[in-house]
Subunit: 342 residues, 2 copies
Amino acid sequence: MKATINDVAKLSGVSIKTVSRVMNNEPSVRQLTREKVQAAVKELNYQPNLAARNLAGTKSYTIAYVYDNPNAYYVIDMQVGILEACRQQGFELLINPCDSQQENITEDIINTIKQARVAGLVLTPPFSENPAFVQRIIELDIKVVRIMSGDSAPDELSPCVMVNDRDAAQTITQHLIDLGHKKIAFIAGEAEHMSTIERYKGYRRALKHNNIEFNKNLLIEGEYSFDSGVQGAKQLMSTNNLEENRPSAIFSCNDEIAAGALFASRLMDINIPEQLSIAGFENSPFSRQTWPKLTTANQPNIEIAKNAASILIGQIRKKQNCNNTSQYVPQLVIRDSTGKYS
Amino acid sequence: MKATINDVAKLSGVSIKTVSRVMNNEPSVRQLTREKVQAAVKELNYQPNLAARNLAGTKSYTIAYVYDNPNAYYVIDMQVGILEACRQQGFELLINPCDSQQENITEDIINTIKQARVAGLVLTPPFSENPAFVQRIIELDIKVVRIMSGDSAPDELSPCVMVNDRDAAQTITQHLIDLGHKKIAFIAGEAEHMSTIERYKGYRRALKHNNIEFNKNLLIEGEYSFDSGVQGAKQLMSTNNLEENRPSAIFSCNDEIAAGALFASRLMDINIPEQLSIAGFENSPFSRQTWPKLTTANQPNIEIAKNAASILIGQIRKKQNCNNTSQYVPQLVIRDSTGKYS
DNA sequence: CAACAAATTGACAGCGCTGTCAATTTGTTG
DNA sequence: CAACAAATTGACAGCGCTGTCAATTTGTTG
């Protein structure tokens, strides 16, 4: 009932090896032969058996998504994008949620990917930002593609899909400046995250471009959490805080922090955006569900993931070389949490 | 480097077939032999090659999670639980996000699972609530386990993991009644969802137990969305609405609706919980990030999913029979969005 | 202890592919 | 068109398991 490579071979009058060649896009097949085989493949709706492929070949047709991220929407989007690429290219996806803080996590992951004969890894932060980890994986001849924050790849270890948080953060800050704000606070995420650093750089660059002096009292070193947003906003807006250090706008490093800042503002009876503008970053689904709805920056995560997985699969198939790096710039989404300075 | 079944056979002095028997927990192996093999397996850290298993056997060692759910946190939890069970039992997981409304979706799914030789399916709503779909899958001799709302399986088609939303909804409503509320509104999700029906039944049962007459003007037929919560609360709390039809508490069918109701209350300058209590359902992560934080009901989704997958794998291994149904009751989580009637 | 049934074990084929290497075909040169 | 190189194709083994069925071992009976 399900067509095998034998059926295709018979129908197209070639050997199974040639069918195999066509299925794997190998170069040394005549165009005419290729077309005959492809016609048979279409007619029989043939799809190669992944188990057999994995067993027979030295190559593997499995890639893995190794992640440690509390943001379910991000993870799902990544997954959906990676799955799309896998389906198109006849690859399998192994999902590996894990705890990057766990002892021996590197060896654990290596064990898992060896076990499953994984050919490549899609990495997102924090794994993608750990060069030692990436190095270790690549030494095992496992391909890697990294999704990370920045405008260009930090090294030549692997192809990267860069998300230009810096430019996006600059745009957001500029949006606040355009609204008339001058005292703009920044609540940072974990300092060791590239995204924090990049977003901060964008913030600083926007200030500089507009000749606004940076006030270090407006910088809160927080973390990517709701609570951190609450604490940060409380500290900034407290009446104990000097008037000059109380901002008229807060750029939060992500939407969760922004939601926290919103929450704190409620507690302090500060009206948003009349008395204070708050911007987030990420365009997570709940950024539409806060009150007021958050101004933020949107990243096309599914597309980013799909692109990353395609690059990875290309690597594995050796059709593409290593310096295949692409860049995405998150786009400003203006909603109700930011308004004119008054 | 990686141990194969041959290595284990040699080390333990038996044939590979016997090792295979031990690995698959087949009965007709002497205890002594079994132990010898298990010792060798442990020493060599042997794990069967999934590709070879899938290729050689008529059985498959792959299960799939077919879902269509906009709630990423739910999906991720399901996935993590299912993955845990798979890892423990040496199964592979195929993830299949899809659109249940799409034409020919049933055939599409069947195609995919045939293609991947999937042995069983974990189904969550809406798929688990579609008997025709379940029937169709089972006819293909593919095992199914359904996760669904209710206190007992609706039929004998497959084992079910039941989530007793009815009891949980009754508990939430009772909580509101205990706070002194009598005019308790109910904003429903999609009427065709079992969860809506069950939660509604729990609500009604609590009213009845407390001799509170049901007022149909307090019932809003909504859907599981933030906007529906906004609309529902506006309609209920509007000053155009008769005083007697304005509730002092709203039980929202899920947290998203509750978040919407919270949002609408802000717009109408209604203080929560002083002037209005609002309860949600699901304990989604953002229920801790609303203002005020939502009172809700928590379901142990990871555990539910793991249990479901274990039952499914048991089915496939034929170790368990079909009537293996278990039940979970979501627990009340009291936070700040509900308060004493005043 | 013979005779048999039941329990346990193993030999061998084969799942559907890919890798290797040899055979064949095609194209190019003088 | 011979002679050769390059491109294209195919034969066959083998990946690591499981299924089938036969062989062997164990246990039971009179």
